[in-house]
Symmetry: D2
């Protein structure tokens, strides 16, 4: 039934044991609904502290598409759209969620999955220079992800440059941290949670792909941009009646450095995968320092591997090769790597 060797994504396993234990330990409490309970409040405090951002609002969501659509929609006026790299998750893989809420995703070409300050500056300069820009969708927010969809990272310098352009134009900056643990856990990373809170107006800390059973934590740094946000959350169908189920998990993730530790474990496993592919002579499609590994396989090899191993399709490389994705998570262990080595 389930493939024994599954590298297809970072959401194939259940919850981290500490997260599951927290759910069990609190299961028989009776609490008020919709995240108004003390367990959620405790998680919020832990997150605010980790982000060095005492005044932020923290809201919990079940998934990333929901979090993105709610934050972006809530921030935009009807005449505005959100600016994203063309590779942005909101542009390609969320089934038109932003547009379903009435807003256009404005795209600029990515650089290694990243939206650079220069590209944003160029877009804005051209936009405001265009005599007809009043007939066009006005950028009203900038969307980035850390790590990006390609597993790459913004450096602190890059993030600050982007933030400076946004501030110069009065554009809120929003960061999608679906895999944020794998940024925080990467050796190459120099961007901390407080840095993110200082540079962004809003961001989310991913749980689903980073050790939780499910769930994401949206941090609204610049609260004034999101009036009556609770109602928008409800309207988008994103308000969990038993909100505490999310709070409890994030409390666990933000206790004793678990969140960052999960990230480190997974990145180490991904490093193991990278080493393995190099050994076996499969070229990496794109270098990145996080938990996703993009590797070029001959199509023949893919055919023979498929019954034994799960991994993701990324894109066709050429007529005889395909880029595939192997993802590691905190539970990817040496046994899995060894088993894979046998098959390569």
């Amino acid at each position: 039934m389930t493939t024994p060797l599954n590298f297809s994504s970072d959401y194939t396993f259940g919850a981290h044991p500490a997260v599951l234990k927290a759910l069990m330990d609190t299961n028989e409490l009776r609490t008020p609904g919709y995240g108004t309970d003390d367990l959620c409040e405790k998680a919020r405090s832990a997150i605010r502290e980790a982000c060095a951002c005492r005044d932020a609002e923290v809201h919990f969501f079940s998934g990333g598409t929901q979090a993105n659509a709610t934050v972006i929609t809530a921030a935009l006026r009807h005449d505005q759209g959100v600016l994203s790299a063309d590779t942005g998750h909101v542009n390609l893989h969320e089934a038109g969620s932003i547009e379903a809420g009435g807003h256009k995703v404005l795209t600029v070409p990515h650089e290694n999955g990243k939206l650079t300050a220069a590209a944003v500056q160029a877009f804005l300069t051209a936009f405001y220079a265009d005599e007809n820009h009043a007939h066009m969708v006005c950028p009203g927010m900038v969307y980035i992800s850390q790590p990006t969809e390609y597993g790459t990272l913004y450096s602190l310098k890059e993030l600050r440059a982007l933030s400076a352009v946004c501030k110069a134009y009065g554009l809120p900056l929003y960061l999608d941290g679906a895999r944020l643990a794998y940024a925080l856990g990467s050796r190459e990373n120099d961007v901390t949670l407080p840095d993110i809170a200082a540079c962004c107006d809003a961001f989310y800390i991913g749980g689903t792909k980073c050790g939780a059973l499910f769930g994401e934590a949206v941090v609204l740094v610049n609260k004034a941009l999101f009036p009556r946000f609770f109602t928008v959350v409800k309207q988008r169908g994103a308000l969990l009646a038993k909100g505490r189920v999310l709070g409890v998990q994030f409390s666990a993730l933000f206790t004793d450095g678990l969140y960052e530790s999960i990230g480190k474990t997974a990145v180490a496993a991904a490093d193991g995968l990278r080493k393995l592919f190099r050994e076996k002579g499969y070229p990496l499609f794109m270098e990145n320092p996080t938990n996703q590994v993009f590797v070029v396989f001959p199509d023949e090899k893919i055919k023979t591997l498929r019954p034994e191993v799960s991994f993701g399709f990324w894109e066709k490389y050429d007529d005889a090769h395909t880029v595939v994705r192997f993802a590691a998570d905190w539970a990817t262990d040496q046994a899995m790597l060894d088993a894979l080595r046998e098959l390569l």
Copy 2:
């Protein structure tokens, strides 16, 4: 911190132990994402069987507002709206979720929380008799809930009559079963899951309020009305990456009659509450045979009870009295009733 005596709703407790156990037992499996796994498939089979509806599509959601908005939106053309009792949850308490998707909620006056076949017939007759109806929103779906927001139940006869009107006008009928266990577990109920599947084009079986940690199961009986539904689910932000987390819970709920048993236990507890209020001389605002109890309290009494007991505000009754709601669930036990008795 959390009130010791909490009757405020049926989502104040965690999951039923059997549900939690199923989550623990499956936690270390690796499965594909988005509900495409075998655990979800097993739950789907169990639900199809319980509904005697082999061909239905079953989709899992995190919450009810999300399920309602997705099903209703997916079924409607741009010129259509959904017909509901004025007391319908989609009309009042989902923050405009249907409208945010572009559709009007058309309302008719309720009878004890119910939308009667006669009321629907009257609406449709008047609509099509109006010379200007091409300038008006066309009813494109009918929404009901079982139990209703008032805890009342449609009889099989009533449900069939409603279904007949809907069929006569080619209108899909959708049933919101957020608290369906408490209908199925009520002595007065004569509507089975197969009856619902026979009368409705779509419905959802509530988990969040009926023993799950969270989650609802949408059953699409008339699949042709919902083309490419998976994508609409994704677009609405309602697709859980670790979809199995929902499947596992519904498998547990549909094993050994657990779902109905949860309903019975809660309704029995609610009967205990009703008995208690009668004993103490507090009049019931409205009779119903399910797990919610609406009772009229003097405002003075409310003030003294509040620090000790949690319950819900329903509506003002008169200058000195208020209707409040006590909800029972499967974990409401005799100790809670006894403690309440002391305070009344």
Copy 3:
């Protein structure tokens, strides 16, 4: 082909001769597009002056549904809806235009077609008293029409009371003046254009039903509520490339008191109709001092009249009678009344 005797509405005739002449006189000018030309600017000045409102923004639209949807949508945040009498045009007869833009129409019962200050106050009091109001659509604008859909008028006292309630709650007030000429031209009216500008945050002056070939002029008194409104107009498909076609018409309507004079002529004709119905013994369904006459006819009479006269269906009165509407406009003349008298 066209019925000789047509009282079915106030948009059955072409333009007032002065309006048509203005279009002919300016036809061969070349001007910039989208209402940025001098002819539009002249019309805007005339309207601002008539409203004693020097700083207002004036935008021209092709029709009323478009104007209503654009103004209301532009003013609302995603969590907000618009409050209207249940008889409001935006609620019933605009095909769900507001909801298609993502917003709910919140309704309260009308009084003679009017939304009273007391009804709005009661709605708001109940809304903010409800413990669950964060789960509900928040009123974000109030919509009224002058004259109302029933042809009735707000007195200055009533309008000021409504405005005061709105201001107290920070709610913008918007007035739909599709038939505003017939208010301004009514003997019973005591509300001037400057009064409207003083009481409302936005309103529109109807042209289509009041002498123009087509078109409406939206006046944004409180401009800060409508940032980048031009783009929203474009987005809603409401921006006319040859915008001057609208400006030219409104210049004509606001020269030498033509707009009010058109109103007076039509109301006088409607008074003629009322007199005629009384003479002939047909009871008026509802008294009103403007250009629409609602009269109760036996169904038999309707059958015999239909081939000879056009008039509108309003609603069934009883099993044998129906309320019908006769509308007068500035071109309804004595010959038409005489011809009708013959048939009654």
Copy 4:
């Protein structure tokens, strides 16, 4: 006030005299509203005949953005988007109108402003080959314009190839004919109205830029795709109460070959402009056989011309040059060309 020499667009002049005369001649008729009158019916018949398409539905609109948004929105399910060249008007210059209706514009790179059959085929092949396409917006309609935004034309062979790809995938093809007269009037054109009706599921015949005072005629060839379209038109605010005002104009345009003749006159004037620019040594940015001329001017020259001549900004060419647009229409005469020659 208005610039004497205005080439800025093809909507700077009023109506063609024959159109204006038709409006005057019918002004005093009384007709039913909303386009249900005989004058509209006559125009519909003329258009159906010109398109050799007896069964088509014809609907009149005030402007192109409105027509595009209504047709596209009405055709799409919630999970679908519209495929367009990246230069498509709906993608860039309609202020996000499609997205405001809930749908994504999916783009592919243009070739001379055109969407080729090969590009559409490549998009669809890649889409359906992508394992994750259920997470992506599904193409549900294809949008093209004739002439394109660059003034270029699809040949009949190209249009048929595109139509064949669309049919193979069950994708409706929609053609935006804002400037269709200038295609029909071009010597290089080999695509007739009946060809368009045979290849497309819907299209619109532009009036605003082609001799009308304002207005566009949408032709629904494949009516089954647009159920209850009238209501969607109303919902989008696109239904003119005095609908006949549009019908009358299109009757005039489709009498005695006026529409095509207007196109020819304008293209001849544009040819004069092209000749003039060549003479004076200003390079054309892109060749096209219709009424828009794209020419590269030194920025210095632009500065000196601006006070005397109106023309459109297109895009920056390099640091010292800019692409500008000169548009001709049926009223662009030799005197205008001569005056321009003096200034170049």
